[in-house]
């Protein structure tokens, strides 16, 4: 599909987990700014939960033992709730950078929607939408968060906020130029070993964008952005517009 197609039709496929990865990422971006879609996702998620609940199978007794054994040695992820006072200087500097980034971001869709979600979250959010929104908050407030920014040739700016501890990163851009009707922006993960893999699509309408990238950061050394034909590509077909290094 192209980014210009009616995205509302995708609600069913989305709650069934039937969207290809790149389209799912793109739809979630749309979702962040579409309250009606979020309400419909919540409704239809109840139906898929019923489908999920219609199956049962007995796990082996060993499975229980193995799981309880594993969790005894598995550290839990903690979301930051109460900000500690008196952060170290580096942390404070980073927070300033993040604050600046948020102010910048507040004017555009993704983050504006994100703030709306925060305010509205007790009402009509699904677990997944909420997970997206809180994932962004988690990364932006992670203690080990790093922010790397690059100015593109056209004057727009792209940033990657990464948390190795959370194994995730967020891509934030301002003033991306509008592409041709048959083009989208595509994000890429550059592996330490040199390979590139798709990390999601952004609408060719450009402007401001904020997006949590889904896959693990494990072997990632940089995030790149290119312009690609609608629907995205498996490998870049044009020169990168920018590449942001993710600190190890």
């Amino acid at each position: 599909m192209t980014a210009d197609e009616d995205p509302h039709q995708l609600v069913g496929a989305y709650v069934l987990h039937a969207l290809p990865a790149a389209e799912e990422v793109s739809f979630e971006n749309h979702l962040a700014g579409c309250a009606a879609c979020r309400a419909e996702v919540a409704e239809l998620s109840e139906v898929t939960l019923r489908l999920a609940s219609a199956e049962e199978a007995d796990p082996s007794p060993e499975l229980r033992r193995r799981v309880l054994d594993r969790i005894a040695h598995t550290r839990q992820e903690r979301l930051p709730r109460d900000r500690p006072h008196g952060l170290p200087v580096r942390q404070r500097a980073l927070r300033l950078a993040l604050a600046a980034c948020l102010v910048l971001a507040a004017t555009f869709g993704g983050l504006a929607a994100w703030q709306h979600i925060q305010a509205d979250e007790a009402r009509t959010e699904t677990t997944r939408t909420q997970a997206q929104a809180s994932a962004l908050t988690d990364i932006l407030t992670a203690r080990d968060a790093t922010i790397s920014t690059q100015k593109l040739r056209d004057g727009s700016e792209i940033s990657v906020v990464a948390s190795r501890a959370q194994d995730r990163c967020a891509f934030i851009a301002s003033d991306l130029p509008r592409l041709g009707d048959d083009q989208v922006y595509e994000l890429w993960y550059a592996a330490k070993t040199g390979g590139l893999r798709p990390a999601g699509l952004l609408p060719g309408s450009g402007g401001g964008q904020a997006r949590v990238l889904r896959d693990s950061l494990d072997d990632v050394s940089a995030v790149g952005i290119t312009a690609e034909p609608a629907g995205g590509s498996r490998q870049p077909t044009s020169e990168p517009l920018g590449i942001v290094t993710v600190p190890a």
């Binding site: 069913g12 987990h17 898929t48 199978a57 699904t126 997944r128 909420q130």
Partner: protein
């Protein structure tokens, strides 16, 4: 609309058992191993049932169930009771991981061959074969049966086989746009049926 969203996944029956489970998951998020064991005991059967249904492979289903359970422990802090039940949160994650696995493991050619068989309405027969331990299972089954075949099959192929809508479209030789809208309308009809009883 706004009402249904309020308690998200669990609005149909937020019984005291569900509320208890929600509270246990919250406790588990604070590092309580016993609370996590309760969550495991309450949800391991439906989690494995769902994963088994999607993967159709007992050994792999055990493995993925284990990964999902450990992931639930690790990320329990993300669970927000005000947005839905623990059951909904856990099963959504389990389905996601089952689908990830199926897409990762199975070569698409083999899957398309496989699903060509399934398109003969076998998916529904398999739903019919599952043991009805629960009144709810029966309801879901009869509501699925009440759908028109062209609406039921895309839902079953996507949800229970882990196919993308593009794969469903290829397998049914139906335009992708049609499949997308049938998925949506099929779910809406299913919802109406489930609510009507």
């Amino acid at each position: 609309m706004s009402k249904t969203g309020q308690d998200g996944h669990g609005s149909r029956r937020h019984s005291s058992a569900e509320a208890w489970l929600d509270a246990r998951l919250k406790r588990a998020a604070e590092g309580d191993h016993d609370a996590f064991a309760d969550v495991y005991d309450a949800l391991a059967r439906p989690v494995k049932g769902l994963i088994c249904r999607v993967l159709r492979d007992e050994a792999q289903a055990e493995e993925v169930t284990q990964d999902v359970m450990v992931e639930i422990w690790r990320t329990a802090d993300r669970y927000r009771p005000e947005l839905g039940t623990a059951r909904g949160w856990v099963l959504t994650l389990a389905h996601r991981r089952a689908v990830d696995r199926v897409r990762y493991v199975q070569a698409s050619a083999a899957r398309e061959r496989h699903s060509a068989l399934l398109a003969e309405d076998r998916p529904f027969d398999e739903v019919a074969e599952t043991v009805e331990r629960h009144e709810d299972h029966h309801r879901v089954r009869s509501c699925l049966a009440a759908l028109e075949r062209h609406q039921r099959v895309p839902l079953v192929l996507a949800y229970y086989q882990g196919m993308t809508y593009l794969e469903v479209a290829a397998c049914l030789a139906t335009p992708a746009g049609t499949v997308k809208s049938r998925m949506r309308s099929g779910l809406r009809l299913l919802r109406r049926c489930l609510e009507a009883r």
